[in-house]
Amino acid sequence: MNPTRQLRRGEMRHGTREALHGYGFVLIWIVGFSIFTLAPLVQTFIYSLNQVTVEATGVSTQFVEWANYSRALFTDPTFVELLIGYTIETLVSLPIILIFSLIIALFLNLEFRGKGLFRTIFFLPVVITSGPVIKELTEQGATSTAGLAQVQAVADFLAELPGSVRTPVEYLLTSFVLILWFSGVQILIYLSSLQKIDKSLYEAAAIDGASAWESFWKITLPSLTPTTLVIAIYTIITLSHFSENKVLKYIYGQTYAVEGGIGYASAMSFVYFLVLATILALAFLLLRPSAGPRSP
């Protein structure tokens, strides 16, 4: 575009026109967001401050201030317990999924015979992991690590541990296979960013006499820091939105329960959202790339 060109009649400035065309493309999102996300979100918040009764004719509400919230946090023993369990499970699973998917991606990034076959197998969970399937497999014992937690020596060892340590370790032993099943997409993401690392960096390092081990710590890992953050956020959210998540199932059950109701369920879903946001913020602070370059 030539900026010195004279504007014809009715022609807008280039910037304004570009902005308008841009809005034209994203308008559908703005409308969708207002109707299907923002409005329901505000409405849910209003519900959470009310006692909500659903009748055939409509919904009647009675303002109760923060009563639903205080009930969720201080009166209901199940909800807080489930929240703590969820937090522990997420914090235990996250590093395992990160490390495991990185190792698999590093393997799959090598050249070897039969790579295609292994790649096919490792991405299987992406396709078949759904709530009911996982539930059936767990119930029929297809996902437990041969009942390791039932072995007497292991059980004795667990009994020795203080409660706060025992819960995560027990979770780890009983659900290890299940945790690995949540690594499919993560492997994909790591693999695609491994392939974007400039090969000449490795060649330069090799000429300078760096071993493969050193190259990994000095080149590969630092290049993957932004990816790791993305994967961590993705993992936390997938685990939190998974339909077999116990907190979610409890909230869903309470929506239709006589003693619960929509108001109470709404309050719990906001508390849950806050806990999830806190975990995300924690992950962000720990993994953000601007933490400065690694000292050599």
Binding site: A19, G22, I121, Q140, Y252, T255, S266
Partner: protein, 309 residues
């Protein structure tokens, strides 16, 4: 043994510039096989158990090889799931919103990538936020609205949000398209503009063809995620359209409706073999799709930069 030979054997064992060496290769394959087993074991277990007759199930000697090829479990599961009808509606529920969502997300991603307008940063922030907000925090008012409109139980309750780019995991797809269109050279666009193409024509003629890998990734992932999604489908579709995962989650109840426990003989009671046959029927269509599209699936992910920033 002279020094050259020594170096040669060291190379064979521990690797040199051209190969990884025997030791490393052996460790690599051992680990890959062990981990591959972790993924395959539940599937094998499910498949073998689903072929066991009630006798085989009770017989502790029968572990991995059933004494006969018993398809009775599949017959029952087929009936309980009302398989063909449920399969058809599952396909509908996953394919239709996926196609709509992918198309809408490509438009939005294009707008974000190719145009400068006030509020763009805010919008990207809000898109990320929609990914974080749990469905629970927005689902109840939506459900009540659909109930009032009479859309509860119909496919429209999933199509409408997809039309507004608020479908299942829409944020991810918008970001995939955003990244794809960001890397598209501006020159192509300007050439088309000189030819007198309008913005919409440029999007269709220049943008869409360049985004083919992103489309493949989005459609496949979208279908898989819609297929496997149960929380939203249960809330919006219960009482209407039935999907396979929904039907699987109430398998016990459905089974006992068809084969009441007090009435049928012992051999027709519900057992884990029938349940796992149902589970296998549930994932079979996805497995088939995966093995057919496997090559596209992995390669297009590698090319489309699903990484997001």
């Amino acid at each position: 043994m002279n020094r050259d030979q020594l170096a040669h054997w060291k190379g064979v064992l521990f690797g040199n510039r051209t190969s990884y060496g025997v030791v490393f290769t052996a460790i690599l394959y051992a680990l890959l096989i062990a981990i591959g087993f972790v993924y395959l074991y539940p599937l094998l277990f499910m498949f073998v158990t689903s072929l066991k007759s009630p006798d085989d199930l009770l017989n502790p000697m029968v572990q991995w090889v059933p004494t006969e090829l018993f398809l009775g479990n599949y017959e029952k599961a087929f009936k309980v799931l009302d398989y063909l009808a449920t399969l058809a509606s599952s396909a509908l529920v996953s394919v239709v919103p996926s196609l709509i969502q992918t198309l809408v997300c490509s438009v939005v991603g294009y707008g974000l990538a190719r145009y400068q307008f006030p509020g763009k940063t805010l919008m990207i922030g809000l898109i990320l936020a929609t990914f974080v907000i749990p469905a629970q925090s927005t689902v109840i008012p939506q459900m009540l609205t659909y109930r009032d409109l009479g859309l509860l139980g119909s496919l429209w309750s999933l199509i409408l949000p997809a039309l507004g780019a608020q479908g299942f995991n829409s944020a991810i797809f918008i970001l995939i398209f955003y990244q794809t269109f960001l890397s598209l050279p501006k020159v192509l666009e300007e050439a088309a503009r000189l030819d007198g193409a309008s913005d919409l024509e440029i999007f269709i003629r220049v943008g869409l063809p360049a985004a083919t890998p992103a489309f493949i990734v989005s459609i496949i992932f979208s279908i898989v995620w819609y297929w496997n999604e149960t929380y939203l489908t249960v809330v919006f579709l219960e009482g209407g359209v039935q999907t396979l995962p929904m039907q699987l989650s109430k398998f016990v109840q459905a089974y006992e409706n068809l084969y009441p426990p007090g009435v049928v003989n012992v051999l027709d009671r519900l057992n884990e073999a029938v349940k796992l046959a149902g589970t296998f029927l549930n994932i079979l269509p996805l497995l088939a799709m995966y093995f057919v599209l496997q090559r596209w699936f992995v390669e297009s992910v590698e090319r489309s930069g699903i990484t997001g920033e």
